[in-house]
């Protein structure tokens, strides 16, 4: 098990353009995420589940994957990841407003159940952990066809308590499949703190049980995440088998719009976490490095907000599904003779 922290190498190895792109991706996701909460609080969207605090590691992986070639079996906090891969704020606003044209599910699923064939993002259900086995099967297929596509899959640390986590890691490792398992450990499964979920401090320490590399990374440190993502993707693409990455992230919001974490978490703990928020911290870090000026950053925010406003307008104007379309897509065409 390797514990990786950001170090000088990271800063050196990433050029300014890449760093700015990372920041832009993170900010774009954050602004969209904030907008979702607004829609929810306005009573226009019955549900939202947020990725705030999880953006850095998602952006890092998204930027190291080949959209539409590599495969992605995400989970509900992976908003930023889907955006990096090519999905748009409009796509997800269509989803949160349950519109017919939502590419994730046509308004059928709760928001944040991502999926888009165009980018090889498989459709996400709600039963946590099942996607880890799907990713393993996807990688099996790639391997059988001799392709060097890698499969990214993610879940929360809570989901690693499910049997499917073990079954997936075990099989992917036994067959040395190109799966990157990313655990976004925010310390909570809804209200249950990690200490009640598992007896050891790091999920990544479980990698040795499968003979694969396990990496812990500070998920609020975008550069460290980028380096880990790059290494993991390279490892998997080279055919060296799966990797287990654990990003220690913050859940900056309640579990979902139906939850209120102040009921089970201390106020000072919540306040302290805000300080470590990857988006704010990354901005000042990049400003310190001279990669970003506050003008560039502000312009970026203005641009992204404009994109968002337009997307929201379009989504709002888009039609809801026709009732009878509920009967569609149970089966496809019948077997041909």
């Amino acid at each position: 098990m390797t514990v990786t922290k950001a170090d000088a190498r990271d800063e050196a190895s990433l050029d300014a353009e890449t760093l700015r792109a990372m920041y832009r991706h993170m900010l774009r996701s954050r602004l969209l995420d904030e907008r979702m909460w607004v829609l929810n609080r306005q009573g226009r969207a019955p549900f939202w589940i947020s990725g705030m605090g999880h953006e850095a590691v998602q952006v890092a992986f998204g930027m190291n994957l080949r959209p539409g070639y590599d495969w992605v079996a995400p989970y509900y906090r992976d908003l930023a990841l889907t955006l990096v891969l090519g999905m748009t704020p409009r796509d997800h606003l269509l989803s949160v407003l349950a519109r017919a044209d939502d590419p994730n599910s046509g308004g059928r699923q709760m928001p944040a159940h991502y999926g888009c064939r165009r980018y090889n993002i498989i459709t996400t259900g709600s039963s946590v952990g099942t996607q880890l086995l799907h990713a393993t099967g996807i990688a099996l297929a790639s391997r059988m066809r001799g392709e060097d596509a890698v499969t990214f899959t993610s879940c929360g640390e809570g989901a690693t308590s499910e049997g499917d986590f073990h079954e997936a890691l075990n099989f992917a490792a036994t067959c040395r499949l190109a799966v990157i398992f990313v655990v976004e450990n925010n310390g909570f499964a809804i209200s249950v703190p990690w200490e009640k979920q598992m007896p050891i401090p790091n999920v990544a320490d479980r990698a040795s049980a499968y003979g694969v590399p396990g990496i812990v990374v500070d998920g609020e440190d975008p550069m460290a995440c980028f380096r880990v993502a790059k290494e993991a993707v390279t490892h998997a693409r080279r055919g060296e088998g799966p990797v287990l990455v654990e990003a220690k992230v913050l859940r900056l919001t309640s579990h979902s719009s139906d939850d209120d974490q102040r009921r089970y978490r201390a106020a000072d703990e919540l306040a302290a976490e805000k300080e470590r928020d990857c988006v704010a911290r990354f901005r000042s870090q990049l400003e310190d490095l001279g990669v970003l000026t506050s003008t560039i950053a502000d312009d970026m925010r203005t641009d992204l907000t404009r994109e968002l406003d337009r997307a929201e307008e379009e989504a709002e104007a888009a039609p809801l599904p026709e009732p009878e379309t509920a009967m569609r897509h149970v089966f496809g065409e019948a077997a041909e003779g």
Binding site: G106, Q109, S126, I190, V192, D258, R263, P323
Partner: protein, 327 residues
């Protein structure tokens, strides 16, 4: 008698059983500090401590399997599955283990176990927070499956379930939690786990249903009164075993039958009720049995027009009743 919610009635029943019997414990995701995602177990951890109201890891096979183990060793666990939709990973433990333990050991062992889970839609819960998949368990011998529809039954049946020496699946309609209120006597009482209840007497059409649909059926039944039709509404309550005699009695009395449920119809409770009537009420029927339920699509969609399309509403029930009345 106090008017309390369905949710409060369940909580009261659990609390009183825990006070009475130290072997009763609650196990599930978020049941502790948070009191469950719907608040059913609120306050219980404070009262009974972290062991007796135990936040489990996120693993349903674990919840069921550990509860079975505890039941082997003298406890009476109440396992909470956060949503009925997420009971699937626990199916092996429930169906292969809990349901078969007394039988396979020739009565040497038994597991007094309650598995609670909220089901049902109409709450913008979409595919995975709206399902009604009780039918799966109703096929399985060795399980009891109950669904209370009133606060009175909710309390009386959770108490009976905890005291029952065998596994009981206790399903709660999540829309009932706060929407349904009713009178509940103070203190201890039980409601039998194998008896239907006549929720409304009538002699023209017998409606068989359970859960929130009981309330929709009652509403629709009232709409036919001005036209001179009195529907009997039978709240099945116990879905396994079904109360065969009560079903046959009401069907014979009315001669016309509507079987109602929120779930899709194929191979379901409604199928079984219709089959019982087809077998045992042949000479008494004045019209074909009619079933009304969810459509045969994988689950209830999120978008409001689609969700409404899925749901069996009082309007749809009224239409079915009028058709039957006119037959």
């Amino acid at each position: 008698m106090a008017e309390i919610t369905y949710l409060q009635a369940i909580r009261d029943g659990i609390r009183e059983e825990m006070e009475r019997d130290p072997s009763v414990l609650v196990l599930g995701e978020d049941v502790g500090a948070k009191g469950g995602v719907f608040g059913v177990t609120e306050g219980l951890q404070k009262q009974f401590g972290e062991w007796r109201v135990l936040d489990s890891p996120l693993a349903e096979s674990l919840i069921a399997g550990v509860a079975i183990g505890a039941a082997f060793n003298g406890m009476r666990p109440i396992a909470e599955i956060q949503f009925q939709d997420f009971i699937m990973p626990a199916v092996d433990q429930i169906v292969s283990e809990a349901a078969k333990i007394r039988y396979r050991s020739n009565g040497d062992w038994n597991v007094p176990l309650v598995v609670r889970a909220p089901f049902g839609g109409g709450v913008h819960g979409a595919l995975y927070h709206s399902q009604s998949i009780e039918a799966i368990f109703c096929h399985v011998p060795g399980l009891r499956v109950v669904v209370p529809s009133t606060p009175y039954d909710a309390k009386g049946m959770i108490v009976a379930a905890v005291r029952d020496p065998d596994p009981v699946m206790y399903f709660e309609h999540k829309r009932a939690y706060r929407a349904i209120k009713g009178e509940v006597p103070e203190g201890e009482y039980v409601v039998a786990l194998d008896r239907a209840r006549i929720a409304r007497e009538g002699s023209d059409i017998a409606i068989f249903t359970y859960g929130m649909m009981v309330h929709s059926a009652l509403e629709a039944a009232e709409r036919l009164v001005p036209d001179g039709f009195e529907c009997e509404v039978v709240d099945l309550r116990s879905l396994r075993p079904l109360d065969h005699d009560a079903i046959v009695a009401s069907a014979k009395k009315c001669g016309k039958v509507l079987v109602l449920q929120e779930a899709n119809l194929a191979v379901s409770i409604a199928s079984e009720v219709a089959a019982i009537i087809a077998e045992d009420c042949f000479d008494y029927l004045d019209a074909p049995v009619v079933r009304l339920g969810g459509p045969e699509i994988p689950a209830m969609p999120f978008s409001p027009p689609l969700e409404r399309f899925y749901l069996v509403t009082p309007d749809k029930i009224e239409r079915a009743l009028r058709d039957l009345a006119a037959y």
